[in-house]
């Protein structure tokens, strides 16, 4: 009996030290990564490690809920909103509130030290306890939680449904967009297009370029990049291959001297006409 308990304890200790360290690492990564998407993925890592800790704390139901609700639903909602809000959402390093960063570091560290120190003083040598009895008296952890939710906390459970409905309605109302103008018909769209600078469709990205990825601008006949061919989010992104490597273009065009000459002549003509 004691031997199995000791084995359980060392197993739990291993899980605690590994998953706890990974959870703290994930939290630090979330704090210090510049891009919000990386922050979200680091937070997902922290949450999965917390789920493993819940399971080792004999709360298997909460561990599963943590994986499904937190990492599955909430973090994916975060990523979805990040995609909506846009790619240029990385933090700039300019302080808009002067001198906010130093006090933030000071108070953050002080808060952490105080919290850990006080908790260590107030709760030292608390027994780990065991949920074995509570988990088995109704036949399992899930049954035990269900009994509590549907008997003693049934009112809180009902109120929770009102909260969820209110939240869903609030989100719908907040993100709802009124149409102030009637929807444009196909005729109006077509007329607007012919009045605009581009009657023809925009060139697709990657035309005549070395790669056909969406972040590679199309090349004009003289080898320069056609900016309009990039989708707007790609043009905003720093990492897009906005700069066209002139040497690469030359390399590609080398075998087609005649074609290039013809194209040059053609562009000279047309550009003269346009201007």
């Amino acid at each position: 009996m004691t031997a199995t308990l000791a084995v359980q304890n060392t197993g739990e200790a291993a899980v605690f030290w590994i998953c706890g360290a990974l959870a703290v690492l994930g939290a630090m990564g979330m704090l210090f990564s510049r891009k919000a998407v990386h922050s979200a993925l680091f937070l997902a890592m922290t949450m999965i490690n917390l789920a493993i800790l819940y399971v080792s704390l004999s709360a298997p139901f909460l561990g599963m809920v943590q994986v499904i609700v937190y990492t599955g639903a909430i973090m994916m909602l975060f990523l979805f909103v990040l995609m909506v809000v846009g790619v240029d959402s990385s933090d700039s390093l300019i302080e808009t509130l002067k001198g906010q960063r130093g006090p933030a570091i000071f108070f953050g560290l002080g808060f952490g030290v105080l919290l850990v120190g006080l908790l260590g003083q107030g709760t030292s040598d608390m027994p780990a306890g065991s949920l074995e009895q509570a988990n088995t008296v109704r036949g399992g952890n899930l049954q035990g939680i269900a009994e509590l939710i549907f008997t003693r906390y049934v009112f809180a459970f009902e109120v929770t449904s009102a909260l969820l409905i209110t939240a869903a309605l609030g989100a719908m109302i907040l993100t709802h967009q009124e149409h102030y103008k009637p929807k444009a018909t196909q005729r109006e769209l077509s007329e607007a297009r012919f009045k605009g600078p581009h009657p023809s469709p925009l060139p697709p990205p990657g035309t005549f370029a070395r790669h056909n990825a969406v972040d590679t601008p199309a090349l004009l006949p003289d080898g320069s990049a056609a900016e309009v061919s990039l989708p707007r989010p790609m043009a905003l992104r720093d990492t897009a291959v906005n700069r066209v490597d002139v040497e690469e273009v030359d390399e590609v065009m080398e075998g087609h001297d005649v074609v290039v000459d013809e194209l040059d002549a053609a562009t000279d003509d047309t550009s003269g006409e346009e201007r």
Binding site: V24, M28, L31, V65, L77, L115, V116, M126, G129, I149
Partner: protein, 99 residues
């Protein structure tokens, strides 16, 4: 493993979240820090539940998760609306209420 270990871990995660709320300015990352703090309190709930040997702490952690889900939905909707009107997700931009 005593309860102290878990409480210390929860305290560390909570203060990291609080620190992030002061430190970061992207509204979405600030929201993630709130989530981290809620998760830390959940961990403390579950650890205390095992210490006391009953399941009430786990029920409370469950309710915390529900409230966190509702809070995230409304908060992210507000962020989307702010981004639509201001084209920015920085928490320093909406300063109309500043005196």
């Amino acid at each position: 493993m005593t309860t102290d270990h878990y409480i210390a871990l929860a305290a560390i995660l909570f203060s990291l979240g609080a620190f992030g709320m002061l430190f970061r300015r992207n509204a979405i990352v600030v929201f993630m820090c709130v989530e981290l703090m809620l998760n830390a309190s959940n961990l403390a709930f579950v650890a205390f539940a095992r210490m006391h040997g009953n399941l009430e702490g786990q029920v409370f952690a469950f309710f915390t998760m529900v409230v966190a889900a509702a809070e995230v939905v409304v908060g992210l909707a507000i962020i989307v609306v702010i981004f639509r009107t201001r084209r920015s997700a920085s928490v320093d931009e909406p300063s109309l209420l500043r005196f």
